[in-house]
């Protein structure tokens, strides 16, 4: 059933207005060594309800791209549109799970999850109930009163996931959210995320280093090049859902992508090496 649905979506996609529309987006950073082109002329559409995965070598601009999509940063050139409107300033319904999480150390786990709801003026009893619900989802009910520093890396990632989901965003921007998890927990959260996505039709942009994870989750996988960050390939994953990380078909798709990614990784390694030589 999910297969049919996935296909329907893929077909309806060109007709709909894209949820996110990036038009020749370039982002320059001023650095001590002169300007650095983090992203160069990125044009990309993300359809409503699409699960898009971004892969690319470290430093290619993935986090920068997510910041732009969240409206937390502005492109140096080009435009970003959401729902047919120019994105200008932070978008409240684009919730980000930051690579470094950005959980608040002065709040308890539950208060962290409540934060977005509090900013939206949700009354205390309701936001507590919602926070508890999402903490249960990520299996952290027993830690609702803990402070952030009392949690392990993986637990923190799960709190960040709960905090993002609790606001019920239209777009979920996830920056390597499962990097610190053990294989079992990650598997479970993949399933959980896929379920939430299926049920709520959220648009998800998911950054990862792990090509298999990208193929496991994404409707589409975009590979970015290294410095400047450009779109190298975009591949639509046609495997039926639910998918499994160990599925040999999945491994096959992932292998093709991995070849592409490895080219970029070795290019980035060479560049670093050259920088060291000259500097």
């Amino acid at each position: 059933m999910s297969t049919i649905w996935a296909r329907e979506r893929a077909e309806s996609h060109p007709k709909e207005q894209p949820k996110l529309h990036l038009k020749h987006v370039t982002r320059l950073f001023q650095t001590p060594n002169g300007p650095l082109t983090a992203l160069d002329d990125i044009s990309l559409n993300v359809a409503e309800g699409e699960f898009l995965c971004l892969v690319g070598p470290s430093g290619c601009g993935k986090s920068t791209l997510l910041n732009l999509m969240a409206g937390l940063d502005r492109p140096t050139e080009g435009e970003i549109w959401k729902d047919g409107e120019r994105l200008d300033g932070p978008a409240t319904d684009h919730i980000m799970i930051f690579q470094e999480l950005g959980l608040f150390p002065w709040l308890t786990v539950r208060e962290n999850v409540e934060f977005g709801l509090r900013m939206r003026g949700v009354a205390k009893p309701e936001r507590q109930a919602r926070a508890r619900e999402y903490l249960r989802l990520v299996h952290l009910s027993h830690f609702e009163r803990s402070y952030i520093h009392q949690l392990s890396g993986g637990m923190k990632q799960r709190v960040a996931l709960a905090r993002a989901l609790a606001t019920d965003p239209a777009v979920l921007l996830m920056d390597e959210p499962f990097a610190a998890l053990d294989a079992q927990t990650r598997d479970r959260l993949h399933e959980e995320l896929e379920r939430i996505w299926t049920e709520t039709r959220k648009t998800i942009v998911f950054v990862t280093h792990n090509v298999r994870e990208a193929v496991r989750l994404g409707d589409r996988v975009v590979v970015l090049t290294f410095r400047p960050g450009r779109i190298k390939t975009a591949l639509t994953v046609k495997l039926p859902r639910p998918r499994h990380l160990e599925d040999p078909h999945l491994a096959l798709v992932a292998r093709d992508l991995l070849v592409q990614l490895k080219e970029e990784i070795s290019r980035s390694a060479k560049e670093e090496y050259r920088d060291e030589e000259s500097g």
């Binding site: 937390l72 980000m96 608040f104 150390p105 002065w106 977005g116």
Partner: protein, 253 residues
């Protein structure tokens, strides 16, 4: 508990040294009183209520002056941190003013306000305001950009960013400023009170001097130290350790 025992022993040792020095009769007793004489002066001062009156008056002054300095300092610190213009102008001024010992403000205060309550309050405020301001500003500047971004991403805007992100995130620094400000305020108050008949603890010190009563001078000094310590321990230690626990910062030893 072990720490308390060690402290107690240390103070007993100090008393012993003091007593021994007194018994050597190096200085006349009216210049170098014995611990018992100072103890008697303490007892005397509290039983005839002069010390209690002094403590009450001084505490009221410091509550007013320090309270005012904290509110103003925190607001000023945030404003300076929020604006590059204020940072370049007021920020620089605050830094240079901090090199002034607070007692330098007294002549000015007396000319402006006369020998009055307000002159003392002014000195207290000037003594503590700047360190509160500076530490607040540093605290806000040290808030990782990530927290601000996360707050804005989750829907905080304008004053909400300040109230729900910047302010709580800068608390560890802020408390350092409040604590330092408290110490400065206390010192400024006592110096200010020594200048004219003002009935506070500082004034009691001067009374001791005028009467050539070294025991009373030392007794008042002990009261001043004890009060300063008491507030530090009772209020600031507690707040600080709560913050440290939340943030998971290393405990201060």
């Amino acid at each position: 508990m072990k720490k308390a025992a060690r402290q107690l022993l240390f103070y007993l040792f100090l008393l012993l040294v003091w007593q021994l020095l007194f018994q050597r009769k190096l200085w006349p007793p009216y210049l170098f009183p014995s611990p018992t004489m100072v103890g008697e002066a303490l007892w005397q001062g509290f039983s005839d209520r002069t010390f209690l009156v002094g403590v009450t008056i001084s505490m009221r002054r410091i509550a007013l002056g320090y309270g005012f300095a904290v509110v103003l300092g925190v607001v000023l610190g945030f404003l300076i941190a929020a604006s590059d213009f204020l940072e370049a102008t007021v920020g620089g001024l605050v830094l240079s003013l901090q090199s002034l010992p607070s007692i330098c403000w007294l002549p000015l205060a007396i000319l402006w306000f006369g020998l009055s309550e307000r002159a003392i309050l002014f000195v207290v405020v000037m003594g503590s305001l700047l360190s509160v301001t500076i530490n607040t500003e540093v605290g806000v500047r040290h808030v990782p950009k990530l927290y601000r971004m996360a707050g804005r991403n989750l829907g905080a805007r304008g004053f909400g960013v300040f109230a729900h992100v910047l302010f709580p995130a800068s608390l560890p620094h802020l408390v350092v400023g409040l604590k330092q400000g408290w110490a400065f305020a206390w010192r400024s108050l006592i110096s200010g009170e020594m200048i004219f008949v003002s009935l506070g603890l500082g004034h009691l010190l001067m009374v001791g001097r005028d009467l050539n009563d070294m025991s009373q001078v030392i007794a008042v000094m002990i009261v001043i130290m004890a009060l300063g310590q008491l507030v530090d321990q009772l209020i600031f230690r507690g707040v600080e350790s709560r913050i440290r626990n939340r943030w998971g910062l290393a405990r201060e030893v």
